[in-house]
């Protein structure tokens, strides 16, 4: 990959790449199947180190993993919403991140869960917080010759819940008009911390830091959640396109932020 630079692409699930090559979005000389690299197929969890998710692990392994559904339900939500069953056999969270679509269903969950992207390249290895990974539609911090190897997610704190919800016009198999991924940590009867991330309302997934920080120390009530949802709407910078208008999308950010926070609070209460 280093040898061919921008003329090389990594093939994991191929559900984005093969379509992009067919419509000539990228003209490449080399496609490298990375599914045989052990590190890229790793899926491991420990209470001390958290989750290591190889970039070539397909969605079905994510949502069938008992640790992920128990500890990171927001990531479970994302993995089970991406494409249909056929796509989920091949497509993975790593490809969803590396493809860097503003509408990617996994990226808000990764941001909400505090994930870092582990990158390897000709100059060595580096790690980047997922909220800094995407730089524009289809663009990321990956330099020519660099490869996304895995993602690391810290172990969940006590009483932590996470949720991803999106709006689409049909029930399955569609691109998010808006998506919202959140995580909430409770401390007794107040919110210890919260992270909110938005999909499809800007050129990259958006980390709505102010909306999340505002919740710190607040009671986990519908009233607090409504106010955080208003703050999240201010972080959204959507465009009008075939999937929705600016007004509809901003409205949806409010609705989905409220619903995902309420869901994450419920999950946090049930968590150990």
């Amino acid at each position: 990959m280093a040898e061919k630079g921008a003329k090389a692409r990594a093939l994991a699930g191929g559900t984005d790449l093969l379509v992009q090559l067919r419509v000539k979005r990228y003209i490449v000389d080399r496609v490298v199947d990375v599914k045989h690299i052990a590190e890229m197929n790793e899926l491991s969890y420990s209470d001390s180190k958290g989750l290591v998710l190889g970039a070539a692990v397909p969605c079905y392994r994510v949502y069938e993993d008992k640790h992920i559904s128990a500890k990171y339900p927001g990531l479970y939500d994302s993995a089970s919403l991406i494409g249909g069953i056929q796509i989920q056999t091949r497509a993975g969270i790593g490809g969803n991140l590396a493809n860097a679509a503003p509408s990617a269903d996994a990226i808000p969950s990764l941001i909400a869960l505090g994930a870092t992207a582990n990158i390897a390249g000709p100059k060595g290895k580096r790690s980047v917080p997922v909220e800094h990974f995407c730089t524009g539609p289809g663009k990321s911090v990956l330099q020519d010759g660099e490869l996304l190897v895995s993602m690391s997610i810290p172990p969940p704190q006590a009483k932590m819940g996470s949720t991803y919800i999106r709006f689409i016009p049909r029930n399955e198999m569609d691109i998010a008009v808006v998506g919202v991924g959140v995580s909430v940590v409770l401390n007794g009867n107040s919110i210890k911390s919260a992270r909110i991330a938005l999909a499809s309302v800007g050129p990259t997934p958006i980390f709505a830091t102010e909306a999340g920080n505002w919740l710190t120390g607040k009671a986990p009530t519908e009233d607090s959640v409504m106010q955080a949802a208003e703050a999240a709407k201010k972080a959204a910078k959507p465009i009008t396109d075939m999937r929705g208008t600016i007004e509809q999308r901003i409205h949806l950010v409010g609705v989905l932020t409220k619903r995902s926070l309420l869901s994450a609070i419920t999950r946090a209460k049930e968590a150990r």
Binding site: R22, V31, Q86, E172
Partner: protein
């Protein structure tokens, strides 16, 4: 044009060797090299599910997989669903319930439905509808297809 590669795979329970250019999709090789034209090309971009096949027991869109990725895998296409001279219960119930009109989507639906019933033989209607969301049909309106799958469950 890149050199062709020899691929060894188990295709419908037969060990098979075929040649493929690295850029060719599994769908293209199934239809054009191996003359297994039961698998259909619909959209060729992963939306319609007409090209659904099973790889190691899990359903995939064969248009979104390179044929060279089939190396060492077990592939099942619509041609491998019937048992000897007897239709698979899914094929029989699709006929009985008139779950097809033009028929282009049918091989994909049957392979996808088999992928579900192999795993969850008692899937309810909601689960069947959810599982088959990656398969599009422009003729039937889906109801007859769902009825056929639920009927096949009882036969299995």
């Amino acid at each position: 044009m890149a050199k062709k590669v020899i691929v060894q795979a188990n295709l419908n329970d037969n060990d098979t060797e075929f040649l493929s250019e690295p850029r060719q999709s599994l769908l293209e090789v199934l239809r054009e090299t191996l003359a297994l034209t039961g698998t259909k090309e619909g959209c060729n971009d992963g939306n319609c599910g007409a090209c659904t096949v099973m790889v190691d027991g899990r359903i995939v869109n064969s248009c979104l997989m390179l044929a060279v990725e089939a190396e060492g895998k077990k592939i099942t296409t619509i041609e491998g669903i019937a048992q000897a001279d007897k239709l698979h219960p899914l094929q029989q119930s699709f006929l009985e319930e008139a779950a097809l009109q033009c028929g282009i989507c049918t091989p994909g639906f049957i392979v996808a439905a088999k992928g579900l019933l192999d795993r969850e033989p008692k899937a309810d209607e909601h689960r069947v509808r959810h599982w088959l969301a990656g398969n599009l049909c422009r003729c039937t309106g889906y109801d007859k297809i769902i009825r056929a799958v639920l009927k096949a469950e009882k036969e299995l």
